[in-house]
Every structure is written in C-alpha cells, then in structure tokens.
Symmetry: D2
Subunit: 220 residues, 4 copies
C-alpha cells in the first residue's frame, strides 16, 4: 500500500518535472548586447517562442559586450558563457576586429582572428556545445562595395565561412543576407537606415529580419 | 608667276617650320614613375607612336614620383608639370591616398582628396591644359571585393568619376577596367600576377593593357 | 606760390591719412579658430591692444579652421591669408598632422610636413610677410611623456624649430612652454584641465597664457 | 652506530638524487625569441650559469615568438609554457601591442592590455609559478622622447609597473634602464645602435646588459 502511494507520488512528481529547455546563448559584441534589449532580436526571439508555445523547449540568452573582438570572447568565455550551461552558442563577431583597425589602431590581424576563433570553437565543442557561426553583416549598407571596410569585411567573412566548414558548424551568413536585402531594398545606395541605424547596429527592420533568420535556423 | 614663287616660298617655309607635337604629360605616383622605365606603359606608348609614325604629332613624358598622393601633385605641379609645357595632362593618382591610411596612418581624407583634386584641375584648365582623369586600378586583384582596401578604392574612384563630370574632363576608368579584366582572366581569385606584380604595380600584361587604353583614348 | 599751396595741401592730406596699423594674421587649426571667439587668445590680444592704446599700431585677425593640417594651410593661403594683406603671419599648426594618424589614418608624413611647411614659408617671405612659427603645444597634458602622441609631437616640434632657424623666423615654442608650465602646475599628472579643456584646446588659463606670450613676442 | 649508518645512507642517497634545477622560462615576443639564439641574452645566461657552476641549480629556456602581443601569450600559455613545468616565468611583452597600432592597425587597447596581462598572471600564480614582469625597452633609442611611440610605451610601461605591485611580482624595468643607459651613452641622440640593432631588437651590448640584469635579478 505504501509502495503504491509512493509510486503514485513519483508519477505525479515526474509529471511536474519539466524537461530542461534547450539553451541557446548569443555570444558577441554590441550588436548582440543590444539584441537583448527591448525590441532587440533576442527579445523578439523569446517573445515568439512564448507566442508559439515553444518556450518550454527553447531558452535564449544574450552574452554580448560592446567593443568585443574575437579575443575578448576567448578571454571571457568561461565566465560569461560556460557558466550559463548552454546547449548551443551562436558566435556573432568580426565587426570590431575590422573596424577598430581604422578607429583605434587595435583591430585583429586576419591570421590571429582565425587562430582565436578556432581555439574558441574547439573549447566549446570539447564540452559538446553546438556552435553556430555568423558572418559580420555590415559597416555601412551601400551596395556597390564602396563602404570603406567592405574589403576587409568580405575577407573576414570568408575566414568564418571556411571555419564553419572546417569545424562542421552551422553558418548564418549575415554578410551575404544583408547585401542581398540591400540590393533589393536600398535603391538609393544609402549608408544606413535600411537594416541598421548607423551602418552597424540593427534598427527595427534589422532586428526583425535577424530574429526571423535565427528562428528558422535554430528552432526545429 | 608671282603667285607661283610665293607658293613655292610658302611650301619651303612650311617645310622648315616643324609643327610642335601635341605634348602629353603623365602625372602621378610610382605606377606612373615605373611607366617611364623600359617596358613601362609610357615607353610602350612612345614606341608605338614611332612605329605608327605619329611621333611628330604626339610626344609623351612621365612625371610620376613614388608615394605621391593628390596633395603632393598639387605641391609640385608648377615645377614638374607646368615647366614641361604640356597640352594635355593625365592625372593618375589615388592608390596611396587610400593605402597610406593603413601603411603609415598618412592617407588622405576623402573630402580633402576632392578639394586638392579640384584645385589642381582648375589650375591646369586656367592654363588651357586638357586634363584627363584616371581612377586608381587596384590594391590587390581579387575579384570578389575582398581586397582589404576595395571599399575605399571604390569610394575614391567615384569621387574621381564625379570630378570628371563636374570639370568636363575625359575619364579613364582603370578601376572598372581592371575589375572587368580580372573577372574574365583571374578565375582563381589571385591577389596579384594578373595585371600587376604585387597587386598595385603593373606587370608586362598590365603595362601593355594600359598603353593600349591610353593610345585609344589620347591619340586621334 | 603755387608750390607752397601744393605743399600745404600735401601736409593736410598726410594729416588725414591715418597710418595703416601693422597687421598680424594667426593662421592655423581649431586652436586658432577658437582663439578668435570671445575669450579666445586673439580676442584677448585685441582687447589688450585697445586697453594699452596700441590698436592704431597693431591689428590682429584669425584665419584658423578646425582639422587643418599643414597642407590645408598651403592650399588656402592665397584665399584666406594673402587677401587680408598681412604684415606678419603666425603659423600654429601640427596637432592634427600627428593626431589624425591615430584618429583617421590621415596624418601627415614627417618629411612632407617639412616640405609643405617650407613651401608655405617661402611663399610668404616672397611677399615680404614676416613669418612666426609655433610648435604644437599638446595632445594631453601629462608631464611624464606618457601622452600617447608625445613622441611624434616632440619630433614634429623639432622639425618646426629647425625650420625657424633655416628660414630665419621667430619661434614661439609652445611645446616647451606648456610642458614647463605643467611641470610646475600639474602635480597630479592630469591629462587636461591645466591649460586645456581636453588636452588640446585652450581653457581660460591657456588662452590667457598664450595671449600674454604672443603680446610679448609680437608687440613692440 | 645505527645513526651513523643512517646518516651515511642519507648522504649517499642525497648524492644520487639530483636536485631538480629551478626552471626559468622567458615568455615573450621576437626579443625573447632572438634571446635564445647564439649570442642572445638567454644563451648568455645559460653560459654564465655553467661558468659559475650554477647550472645544476638553475635552468633557463626561451618561449618567444616574433610579433606576439599580450593576448598571443595568453592564447599559447598552456602549450608553450605550462608544458615546460617552469618554477618562474619572465614575461617580456608590450612592444608589439603599441607598435602594431601604427604598423598594421592591430595593436592592443591599453585597457585590454591590462585585462589579458592580469588574466595571464593569475593563471600562473594559481599554479604557484613565480612571475616576473618586464617593461618594454624601446622602439627607437632617442633620449628626448621624440621616438614616435614613446608616449604609448611610457603609458603601457606604467600599466606593467602597476600590475607588478598589484600582483606582488618582481619587476625588471627595462624601459627605465634603457633610457638611463642612453642618457649616458647616446650623446648624439641616435635612433638605434646603442643597445639595439634597429631601435627594438638587442645588439651585442644590449644582450650583454639584459643578461647581466636578469642574472642579478633571478639568480641568488
């Protein structure tokens, strides 16, 4: 009799033990940092998961810090990402690695960009974390490749594409997507105000687009 | 009878008064400096003028100095170009204005590039010198706009195209031509060795192409 | 009789012809531009000339434009300075030639700094204009030579000192004076707020000091 | 009697158990890399330890790689230093963190320089490794602080001095020592050829001086 009651209790308990949701952490720079704010793409993703009643299956969190380059991610990975116990980490970095060459003389050499990126992927994969890579979208939205940093952004994006292949990671190619979107929607060849507020940071349309792409890519 | 003698006299006179050839001076940086060396495009042009017996109609000369930017041309215009009494000046500059930002931190702001370029054109046109503008060809020959400086080179080329319109000058759009040539002849997306030795300075094929283009543009 | 009348007329005429004051034009960058504003050193100089009743002997004017480097001065010399018919021109430039290397990658190579500076001096001396040179004071007021640009500022200041000797110009060595002043008055090794608002642009104390130095140097 | 035998046994035993020498690893950039070559300061140290019969007490090894900045040391610390089982690590880095701002636009922000340096010290101290810090000696040997990078080198040296205090590490202040040496031995204010071949990399005199300083500091 006692056993039966215990069993019943266990069954009830099991019913109340929610499955731990699959946790996705977005790891990056200011674009990701702003993504966690109201209206940002991470917030939009979280809202949509709730609306579509998938918030028991998926959880999203941001780990973006403004001004971060690939080696900053490498330095703070343990403290800021591993402690969140993620099942999947989406790395979106590269804009500052290129931009800070011009702004402060402190960008990242392309070969060291690859070296730190590889080391970061390996650390995560060693913990069985699924890693998703993203190419840097834009520093300036002009479509004729006359934004000052287009050459380097294209180069570093290619490095990321190659790393995705090498380490068998999913790739979200924002560099390609943003360019294609602008070719259709930026007939005046404007520097910003299409998907970004300032050429770099997402406006409402940009956040919506990015949230949609991530939803399709990450949520099954 | 008198008329005949007069006519004969005129013929003799004409025979003794050689027509001054139309003088073209190439004004620029190291690309132009090397152009005046054996095998360079200015030398090739001179050879061809001789072969086609046009060397009495046209004379070509180089005024290129390595490392020059637009304001260097402005500074030495009187000494190095005006003293040559040119009928036509071909300005080919811009590579260092962009490149030296990265190499030495001493490139040229885009707005000042335009300002010095305008001032130089005006000085020449005030002397009734015909001015021909050229866009900078390349710093790196990769065709997917992943050469580090492609963005800025495209931007500065557009400034030059706009100046050509504004001041009613002929334009030789090497930026466009080199890209088109590479799209056809650089399937491996190589950084150099198509039209240049090092991404910037012309190899034999490049000198030949440039000489051909200038011949078609300048020689009637 | 006629002669006497004529002579008298000339004397009267001379009496009505006021002596043209000796005109000093300050030619430079934003520091000079701000110098012409209320509280700026040029305004202070003008006030003092009035107070000391020397405003009939001396006239001061500003020709400063923010962001200017030595070659910008060279470009706009005819329009902005020569048109003012100056007897004396005080050139104060150099901060941006060094600083813009870091800020925008568009500073001035040291050798070209000297070349444009020489050309500018020669142009003025050819018009019998007295030329006074100034060294750039500071980008950061720390006294232990740990301001990022101290090395280059010291180097470019030395170039200016050498030019002053070479062209026999008076020199106002603000680089030296500001450093000495800070050694005495900046015990906390502060970056700004001693003679400048931001390490570069003069605060009230700075404007007062600069006006005093110029008064002593320029006004006899 | 038993005691004597025991004692004798201990002596014999001691004789047979070679004491593991105290291992010092030099961790840095090209200066350290060259230090391990013939004539380099690490080689000189090893020779002197042998001459003075201290090579059973001390062992020295190099772990320098050209072009390394502080974050490169952080990335390769486990592979290149920890695997050598050092008792003491001498970190000598900083030249490239400053220099590469100018050379490639890829120097290290001062705040991140401190952050990576701290993280590296902590990692080592957690393994009970004694850590010795060195300030960057020079990029140019001129004594009047007119070497282009003097400002930043002074700033980064101060960061290292502060870190040495904060983490209770020994400090070898080459920035100070080299400047003092040059004040005495570089009356012509030469850019190099006093302690360095090129302003940065040690010549024979420099290697001798550095080896002497390290010997005094590290060997008891």
């Amino acid at each position: 009799m006692k056993k039966l009651i215990l069993l019943a209790g266990l069954i009830v308990l099991a019913g109340f033990t929610p499955k731990k949701p699959f946790k996705v952490v977005f790891f990056g720079d200011s674009i990701t940092e702003y993504g966690a704010q109201p209206g940002g793409f991470i917030t939009l993703l979280r809202d949509r998961l709730k609306t579509e009643q998938k918030d028991k299956d998926y959880e999203v969190a941001g780990a973006g810090i403004g001004g971060n380059k690939i080696y900053d991610l490498y330095l703070r990975y343990e403290d800021d990402v591993l402690t969140k116990n993620p099942d999947e980490v989406v790395i979106w970095v590269g804009v500052n690695d290129v931009w800070h060459k011009r702004l402060f003389g402190t960008g990242t050499d392309w070969d060291k960009f690859g070296r730190f990126y590889s080391a970061l992927i390996k650390k995560m994969q060693a913990k069985n974390i699924k890693v998703v890579l993203c190419t840097p979208a834009s520093v300036g939205e002009k479509t004729d490749f006359s934004n000052e940093l287009d050459g380097d952004l294209n180069k570093y994006s290619q490095i990321i594409r190659d790393l995705a292949k090498q380490y068998n990671c999913d790739l979200v190619d924002f560099r390609y997507t943003f360019h294609e979107y602008n070719l259709k929607n930026n007939p005046e060849n404007k520097d910003h105000d299409i998907l970004t507020k300032d050429g770099v940071h997402l406006n409402d349309v940009g956040n919506k687009l990015v949230a949609d792409i991530f939803y399709k890519t990450l949520i099954k």
